[in-house]
């Protein structure tokens, strides 16, 4: 075997491949970038025209020869192109790789046209998008079937079907709908998989008739002008002159395996395993980018740079290492690598994370060191991060005594804080350090993402969370061994808003412990469906039938999206046998509930009021502005106070909003348990303060997602103002005296921040002269109405 032509061959010219090529060129390595199509960055080139590309993750530094900032697709590509040419990156187009043979120092890359390329090292940067999932039905090969959409403006007055329910499908369908008759074909009954903003947009378009939709549809066949679908109502034929199927992408397994790289399992979406230096099981063959598990452009760019350094033999530390080291300033005895290793070895819920995910998790997390007796988090705090114990132990206080009478000690590898994470409610317990303790605090967003993407994290957390919920809410003081077997058979159920957990008259075979969200208890009294009670997270429903043995005496339905832990009757019986006071407790609850039922049945209006409040946000609000119409004189001093304390823009609209029984709920932020506004904020500008206030920071880019996502319409987009008006000016009325000026800046989202920076509480309430306006936790109101405490 002769000398290799190139020191490094890079397969794929996406962000990772091109970045690797650019670094190789800059370092003077003989290199070749092999691209299957006829231009670089095919995936990004195939993004929808004009698409805004975000430089995510924002906190990670960029380390690449290629520049990268937020911007339009075209600008990003032009910048890369220019830089690649400047450096003299050696690109070979239309080079379709079919396999790699050889060993480190002498790889031979076989191309589809029969030619071969030899290289000492190979970087596999083919990504996933080169391997789009395609339709496998008759007619899929027809010319009008496509899997990409470049420029939606190319098509006009056509009947187009878009298959898919993800972001790409929605974005394509909406863009095409401007000039075409578009139908979106969804295999399921909802668009929950998409980003919140896309979900709202697509639902709005369907609602207004701009976009057709077929739900629960499986594609059967494609004909020249018709799409044949199988739906629950039978076969449906949709007129279709053009079909765009956005079915996602999977790793090009055949190709990767043909290169000698092995996969950890048979899962279609499994990714090859790589070392910290991105080296695969084949020495000298490296895997970077989406194929290595990192789909974000910035990460791909960084890896392209780093992999070349590794190949040269430079001991380059990953771009994020300095940032990770900063996280460890409080514990200088720990190196980054040792710490990461400790996290993986000691924390079972993180043991299955791959190295890169773990680094990224740590980038967003904080490391804390506490000394003996120090408080880590306090009961009733509004924080919602998750803590894991890296070293030492903590004590969870189960009561408010100092020192606690009942407590649980959690040792190395344990996690805590998950209840706040799941339910969005205040912390349920105080936690303090036992001896010196080293903790990793992972923010909620990150944990949610991990739970969603890594099954092992979700399963081990759920199992533990079930046992703890049972211990905390049903059997405090009972040891874990007596709970674990019951927890093992308990199941977690999700309920969409309005779904019925069980009906009146059904057999009571189980109880539900609500772990997030809340439910409404209803009963048919005469001809009326009367609301009897509202039960929030942390409480049980269905336990009455457990002790009485009678059928369900009321219907329970989800007031908001909720999750419950279902415990079967036999298990619950066992639990009551092991923990006799539980039986007494349930009897007590039963007596109290019976009293409430009687009281509420007498005055069904009170039930309607509960329903009204729940509907107006009571189900998820942590704080709600209520105006007593019998006291409100309509002076609007609340709005003026709000404007005066918030850049001249009032965040509440007193008159708007519904009323019931003289209770008026103005348009003002509810500070929800799981704020809808936070769910899709690209710059992560919406935060929650420790006291529960949800507020928007200056990082807002004015995209309007939060405004669209808020179900209560309390967020507005406003131009920032500058200047102040003195009290004298406002006393005179301020005609011409206002120094407030509208700045030139782009619009930003503004909303109520509960006057978190003002002493004395919200300005609206403080400025109400008659006492009509109050801010309360809705549960307090509901408890007042039902008389439950």
């Amino acid at each position: 075997m002769g000398v290799s032509e190139f020191q490094v061959a890079i397969i794929g010219s996406g962000p990772a491949g091109l970045s690797a090529g650019a670094r190789a060129a800059a370092r003077g390595l003989s290199h070749l970038v092999l691209e299957r199509s006829d231009g670089p960055c095919n995936t990004i080139f195939r993004f929808q025209k004009g698409k805004h590309v975000m430089a995510q993750p924002a906190h990670a530094p960029l380390r690449s020869e290629l520049p990268f900032e937020d911007g339009r697709r075209e600008d990003v590509l032009a910048a890369w192109h220019g830089r690649a040419e400047e450096l003299g990156v050696n690109l070979l187009y239309n080079a379709d790789v079919i396999g790699i043979t050889g060993v480190a120092g002498a790889f031979t890359i076989a191309l589809a046209d029969g030619s071969e390329v030899t290289a000492a090292a190979v970087v596999l940067a083919v990504g996933l998008q080169g391997n789009l999932n395609t339709l496998r039905v008759p007619g899929a090969e027809l010319e009008h079937v496509g899997y990409q959409l470049d420029d939606p403006d190319e098509y006009e007055h056509e009947r187009i079907s878009v298959i898919g329910a993800g972001d790409a499908a929605i974005e394509n369908a909406l863009a095409l709908a401007a000039h075409n008759d578009v139908t979106i074909i969804n295999r399921s009954g909802e668009f929950a998989r998409a980003k919140k903003a896309n979900e709202s947009a697509v639902l709005a378009a369907i609602e207004s008739g701009r976009l057709g939709v077929v739900y629960n549809a499986n594609t059967q066949a494609v004909e020249s002008d018709t799409l044949v679908l199988e739906t629950p109502d039978g076969e449906a034929r949709v007129p279709c002159e053009r079909l765009i199927a956005r079915l996602g992408a999977a790793p090009p397994r055949k190709l990767v395996e043909a290169c000698g790289v092995s996969f950890p399992n048979e899962d279609r979406n499994a990714l090859p395993e790589v070392s910290a230096k991105y080296e695969s099981n084949v020495p000298g063959l490296y895997v970077v980018g989406a194929l290595g598990g990192f789909p974000l452009i910035k990460q791909a760019l960084n890896q392209g740079y780093e992999v070349i350094e590794h190949i040269i033999g430079e001991d380059v530390e990953p771009a994020d290492t300095p940032l990770l080291r900063e996280k460890l300033v409080a514990v200088p005895e720990w190196s980054v690598d040792a710490f990461l290793e400790a996290v993986r070895d000691r924390v079972p819920i993180f043991s299955e994370l791959n190295g890169l995910v773990l680094r990224d998790t740590m980038l967003e997390s904080d490391v804390h060191k506490f000394t003996d007796g120090e408080t880590v988090l306090r009961r009733n705090d509004y924080t919602n991060s998750l803590y894991v114990v890296i070293e030492g132990a903590v004590c969870v206080h189960l009561d408010d005594e100092v020192p606690p009478k009942a407590s649980v000690t959690l040792g190395q590898g344990a996690f805590f804080g998950e209840m706040g994470l799941i339910s969005g409610r205040r912390r349920a317990a105080t936690v303090s350090a036992v001896g010196d303790v080293l903790l990793l605090e992972v923010p909620r967003r990150r944990m949610i993402a991990l739970r969603a993407s890594v099954a092992a994290v979700r399963e081990s957390m759920d199992r533990e969370a079930i046992a703890r919920s049972i211990q905390a809410h049903l059997a405090p003081g009972l040891d874990r061994e007596s709970i674990d077997d019951i927890a093992a058979t308990a199941t977690i159920h999700s309920w969409a808003k309005g779904r019925v957990l069980f009906n009146e008259g059904e057999d009571g075979d189980s109880l539900h412990l609500i772990r997030s969200g809340s439910v409404l208890v209803r009963k048919k009294i005469g001809d009326h469906d009367v609301v009897l009670n509202y039960v929030a997270a942390g409480n049980c429903v269905g336990e009455m039938a457990m002790v009485s043995g009678e059928p369900r005496n009321a219907t329970v339905a989800a007031a908001a999206d909720c999750e419950t832990i279902r415990i079967e009757r036999d298990d619950f019986e066992r639990l009551m046998d092991r923990h006799p006071s539980l039986r007494e407790q349930i009897e007590g609850v039963r007596t109290a509930r019976t009293a409430i039922t009687e009281r509420m049945a007498e005055s069904p209006d009170q039930g309607s009021l509960i329903e009204f409040l729940v509907d107006q946000g009571g189900k998820e609000a942590t704080d709600i502005l209520l105006i007593d119409e019998t006291l409100c004189v309509g002076c609007d001093n609340c709005e003026r106070a709000c404007a005066a304390t918030h850049d001249k823009i009032t965040r509440l609209d007193r008159e708007a909003g519904p009323s019931y029984a003289n209770m008026h709920v103005p348009t003002s932020c509810r500070h929800c348990e799981h704020p809808h506004c936070m769910s899709d904020c690209p710059p992560d500008a919406i935060k929650r303060a420790a006291e529960g206030e949800v507020y928007i920071t200056d990082a807002c880019i004015g995209c309007g997602n939060c405004q669209r996502n808020c179900p209560y319409g309390v967020i507005q987009m406003a131009e920032p103002t500058i200047g102040q008006r003195g009290w004298l000016a406002s006393l005179v009325g301020g005609f011409g005296l206002s120094r407030a000026e509208v700045s030139e800046g782009p619009k930003q989202a503004v909303k109520c921040d509960m006057c978190m920076n003002l002493e004395g509480g919200p300005a609206c309430v403080r400025a109400c002269p008659t006492g009509a306006a109050i801010r309360v936790h809705p549960n307090e109101v509901i408890e007042l109405i039902t008389g439950e405490s």
């Binding site: 009021l609 019998t630 004189v633 304390t645 003289n662 300005a763 403080r766 002269p769 006492g771 109050i774």
Partner: protein, 278 residues
Amino acid sequence: MAVAPMHDGFLVHKRFRYGWLALLLVGFVAAAFFYRDRLEGINVDLVFGYGLGGLALAIMLLLTWFGVRKRSYAKGAGPLKGWLSAHVYLGIALIFLVPMHGGFVIEPDIHGLAYVLVLITAFTGVLGIAFYGLYPRRVAANRDGLTFDDMVKRMAEVDIEIRGLSPKLSEAANDVVRGEVANLRIGGGVRMLFVKPRNRSRHAQMALHRLAIDNDAARRAEALLERKADVVDRLQRDIQMRSRLRVWLLLHVPLSLAALAVVISHGVGMLVFGLGSV
């Protein structure tokens, strides 16, 4: 319907704290006033003239400060409700304190003017309390969950629909409809504080009815006018009640400033010219 008792109005604020304070103050001063002849070793004129006068002036300054406090949104001690509660009860207390300060004598001079102005100001305030107690629930009941804009929008919708009927209506019916649009007054003017303007929509509806035209368009127009008349009734009541909720302030505030000015002149006068005579 009784709502859960969470709201605490300005009158009952902190279990009538300022009401009790005012009552105590008035009771104490009244006792002293009625037993003044038995108080030995005390210069009654000095105490009730300068002492009580000074106290009343201090209260007045505090009451006037409410106007400033109301507008200082970012800072300021305690909720505004507490201040209003104190304002109300101390203001009512003035109605009793001022006559005792003046010995129940009013003469046509600056002292008498101060006396009268303070009392009138206080009474306009009492009127305000009455309105505040009376109207909010009525306004809410009258609105029935609609906002002002909702009501105006409803009216506009009816107008558009009636305009569409116009070609199908007789000349006489069209005259009635045109007259309604031209003459309808919803609010405006001082008069409407006392009497509700005529509901022209109701009149037009009855006029159409009297024309007794047996035609679908006319019957539809009549039904629409009836609907509009109901909204007009609501709007007129709404404007009237909400105007009353505000208009008393137009008397109360200028009167209070005038009263304060005159009281200060009276006080300065008494300090300069009166002190020697005591």
